[in-house]
Structure formats: C-alpha cells, structure tokens
C-alpha cells in the first residue's frame, strides 16, 4: 500500500455521544403558523387532471381559408360531411394529419368537421392509412394532453376506430405507446362512484375511465404479441383481456 493512503491521525476529537434530549431544529422553533395558531396549508395541487390551454390549430386555419374539400350541410340530419372530392382521390399524407390536428377543437363547426372528417377518412382509407401513422402521433398526443373531457372522449373513440381501420395499423402503433399512453394512465380511474345511482355518462359513452379501458383492450387485441407488455409498461394497472 502507498504511504499517502495510510490512515492519518488528525486532531479532530471523536464525536460526542448523543445527549438524551434531542435538539429541536431552529426552523421548528420559529414556526410562524404555530405562533399565529393557524392551520399549516398543504402543498399546492400538482394539476395532473387540470385542463391545459390549447393553441389555435392548423385545422382551423385551413378550414377558414377554405382549403378543405368539404361542405357544411344545413339540414336536420346534420351528421354528414358532403365531400367535394372523392375521398379515394385525397392525399392522405396531407389531409389525415390535418384532420387529426382538429381533434383539439371544442367549438362548432371545427369540432364537428374534424371528428366526422377523421371518421370518413378512416372508414374509407384502407391501405392508405398505414403509411401516415407516424404523422398522426403528435396530433393525437396534443389532443390527449389538453385533458379536456370532450376532447378526450372524441380522441379515444377515434383511436378505437383507427386500430380497426386497416390491417397492421394496431401493430404500427405499438412503438408510439410512450407518447399516447401516459395520459390514459392518469385518467384510467376517472370513474364516477355513484353507488346504486344511475351514471348517465355510461349510456352516452362519455365515461372517460370506461373509454380508456375499451381503447387499451382494442390496442391489445390488434397490436400483436408485443402489445400487452408495452401497454403494461406504460399503464401498470392494466390487466390483459386476452391472456386471462
């Protein structure tokens, strides 16, 4: 052993034995709340469930500029979009991410057009959807991150539609679970405990907790063999709907 590393005796004396009476820290001695006989306030809310403000979307800009080949129907059955161009001829790389971007919207007519436009394009896209998946992740993530009840419900339903819209789409989403699932993990237990009362959101399919459970199950069913372990990694309370 080298000389320099040998223990050197110093002049510092050994630590004294602890006295029986523990020393009270100074910060406790001068506790102002105690002095004023007030309750100590708890920590601030972290705000995990708080709604986040949204920036104006590209979808709104494009709609107002008249860039979309769609027309609004002013009839009593206002649940359809009239397309001015056949959907089969649309450039999915351009339009599908734009419509997904509009999922953050909460006001009419943007909200309606985005929701219905996505629905129509997914229903009739077929093999054109799969190559666009990477471009859809950021709009989906933004929509979920708004933590707005309405936006969450719409986005979850869209995700359920997306995984069944074409072959291999479910598998293609697995690498992006890290972006999509954190918000689902937060809201997974958002379920009203009304005892034996009626929770009307269940009838209207607006119960976020139930929708998340359905969505995760759809992901697992269509995501191939790696889906479950990846979901479990992001949402630890999720139990498989196929293995049990």
């Amino acid at each position: 052993m080298m000389k320099g590393l040998q223990p050197v005796t110093t002049g510092i004396s050994k630590p004294k034995q602890k006295s029986n009476t523990e020393q009270i820290p100074f910060s406790l001695l001068c506790n102002t709340y105690e002095k004023r006989q007030e309750l100590v306030p708890g920590p601030k809310a972290a705000g995990a469930f708080r709604e986040r403000p949204t920036k104006p979307t590209n979808f709104r800009k494009f709609y107002e500029r008249g860039d979309f080949p769609i027309a609004l129907e002013h009839d009593t059955k206002g649940n359809k979009i009239a397309w001015k161009v056949e959907i089969e001829k649309l450039d999915y790389h351009h339009y599908l991410p734009l419509f997904f971007d509009g999922l953050c919207e909460t006001v009419h007519p943007y909200e309606f057009f985005a929701r219905q436009g996505v629905h129509d394009m997914l229903e009739h896209g077929g093999s054109k959807i799969l190559p666009v998946i990477p471009q859809l992740i950021i709009p989906i993530k933004n929509a979920l991150n708004t933590r707005n009840h309405k936006v969450l419900c719409t986005t979850l339903k869209v995700l359920q539609h997306l995984v069944v819209s074409a072959d291999m789409v479910g598998e293609a989403l697995v690498p992006y679970y890290r972006q999509i699932l954190p918000v689902m993990n937060i809201f997974k237990n958002k379920n009203l405990n009304s005892g034996d009362g009626i929770d009307y959101s269940q009838q209207k399919r607006e119960n976020v907790g139930d929708l998340i459970q359905e969505t995760l199950e759809a992901f697992e069913r269509h995501g191939g063999e790696d889906a479950f372990i990846n979901i479990k990694y992001m949402v630890p309370t999720y139990e498989s709907c196929m293995l049990n």
Binding site: A71, K77, K80, I81, A82, W83, K84, V85, E86, I87, D120, E123, H124
Partner: protein, 88 residues
Amino acid sequence: MSSTSPQPKSMMRPTQWSEQVEEAYRFQLAGYRDELEYKKFQKTDNVDRWPHNGYVKKLTRRDGCFYYYNKTRECPDKEISKTKIYTY
C-alpha cells in the same frame, strides 16, 4: 327530375328497422327517392356498395358532392318512421 322516370304507385312508412329501410334511408339522405331515381339521374348502372353486406357505400348528390356511408347501420331509430319506402 325528368318526366319519363317511372312514378311510384304507393308509399309506406316503416315502423321497424330492416335492411330495406336502411337502403331507402341512405338514398333519401342524399336527396333521391330510391335506387331507381339515383341511377336515372346519375345516368349510371352501378351503385358503390360495401362488399360484405351490400349496404350503400358512396352516393353522389345532385350538386355533385359525395356522401360516404358507414359499414354498419346508420339509420337512427328516430329516422325510421320518416323514411319512405316506394313501390312501383
């Protein structure tokens, strides 16, 4: 509508949903009486249909816009009695 198109003899309003009602609902949503009138107006012989169940998939409206329909039932309960089924 041209005067040569065949005129229906009678019309009935359904009370229950059926595939026939669904068919009529889809054409009437797009502004046509039924398949006959659609083919006559568009001067075409084929209607785009879903391959698995034969429901109407795509229709062209009178103004040239396109309506796209779902794979599954679209006619809501409240619209059943408003749908008209024509016989010739």
